[in-house]
């Protein structure tokens, strides 16, 4: 396979890889601040509509959110094991673990899809599309508006993460990512872990704090 390419403005490959990891952390920090806006919105309206938000959280199906939490936690383990395997130059194992992560990610989206279908059936939709007669009032409408935006934005990130992992799988299969140059998989895995971390906060806000 071709030797990893070091850009001319880096002294060596190790320095370039350190810079890549620092750059990824900076990117992830900006992603966190993006979601922070939604979390702040949730917090502001939660203190304004305490009872309505608690009722809406009780109305959400705990089983859907909890299953998805364990699916994403497991996917974080499998992608971490993929990085461990690639560092040890076990490309076949890395490919299997990346594949497992993709399957788990698709499982997450599938479960979320069933949950969305359930919400649509019961009129639990954002803003003026909200039509539920089981829970009512401005607090419920605001909760489900934030719910759809937050989980939708998270779902977009899951989808982007799956695309990145799929691309990385082809890179590993073609020996473009291996023990001498594992940083691409490391960065892709970091993105996937961020997706998991965001969900770790969405889970209690949308399903647990009843």
């Amino acid at each position: 396979m071709p030797a990893p390419r070091t850009a001319e403005h880096f002294a060596d490959l190790a320095t370039q890889q350190r810079a890549a990891r620092l750059g990824m952390w900076t990117f992830l920090a900006s992603e966190v601040l993006l979601f922070a806006g939604l979390f702040a919105l949730y917090g502001a309206y939660r203190v304004r509509y305490r009872d309505a938000f608690a009722e809406a959280v009780r109305h959400n199906t705990l089983w859907f959110g909890t299953t998805n939490t364990f699916v994403l936690l497991t996917s974080s383990l499998t992608v971490a094991l993929a990085v461990r395997a690639i560092r040890a130059d076990r490309c076949g194992s890395a490919l299997v673990f990346v594949g497992l992560t993709i399957v788990l990610g698709l499982g997450f989206l599938g479960i979320k899809g069933f949950e969305y279908a359930d919400h649509i059936e019961h009129g639990l939709l954002p803003a003026r599309f909200f039509s539920s007669d089981v829970i009512t009032g401005p607090g419920a409408i605001i909760f489900y508006t934030i719910y759809w935006i937050a989980t939708g934005l998270h779902g977009v990130h899951v989808t982007a993460g799956l695309c990145v992992l799929g691309w990385l799988a082809t890179r590993i299969a073609h020996d473009r990512v291996d023990a001498t140059n594992p940083v691409a998989l490391e960065l892709g895995a970091m993105y996937w872990h961020l997706v998991d971390m965001i969900w770790l906060f969405l889970w209690p806000l949308l399903y647990l704090t009843r």
Partner: protein, 108 residues
């Protein structure tokens, strides 16, 4: 070739995953306990511990240069300040109607 990391052992990964599962089950159990006003802060602290484990072990922050931790901690601090001030602002306003006629629906 030179690298700035050392591999976390397989045991380390599995122990972290086990801790995450136990903490997730703990979060789930807490949701059935009537903690009142403490439910939200406790749930967020447990979520924060889980996120910390993911960052330190799965994202290898513990192995990397401290500059990377600085970026992560800066983001965390800014998020806490941002959300904390927004929530404190809304929570300490007079509970009567605010601009646009939006008030506490539970008091209507």
């Amino acid at each position: 070739m030179p690298t700035d990391h050392r591999n976390v052992s397989l045991t380390g990964y599995l122990a972290t995953f086990a801790a995450l599962v136990v903490l997730a089950l703990f979060s789930l159990v807490l949701s059935f306990v009537g903690l009142g006003a403490w439910a939200m802060p406790i749930a967020l602290v447990v979520a924060g511990i889980k996120a910390l484990l993911v960052a330190l072990v799965f994202m290898h922050l513990v192995e990397q240069p401290s500059a990377n931790s600085f970026v992560a901690l800066s983001a965390l601090a800014l998020v806490v300040v941002f959300i904390g001030l927004v929530v404190a602002d809304v929570d300490t306003r007079p509970s009567k109607s605010v601009s646009g006629g939006v008030g506490r629906d539970s008091r209507r």
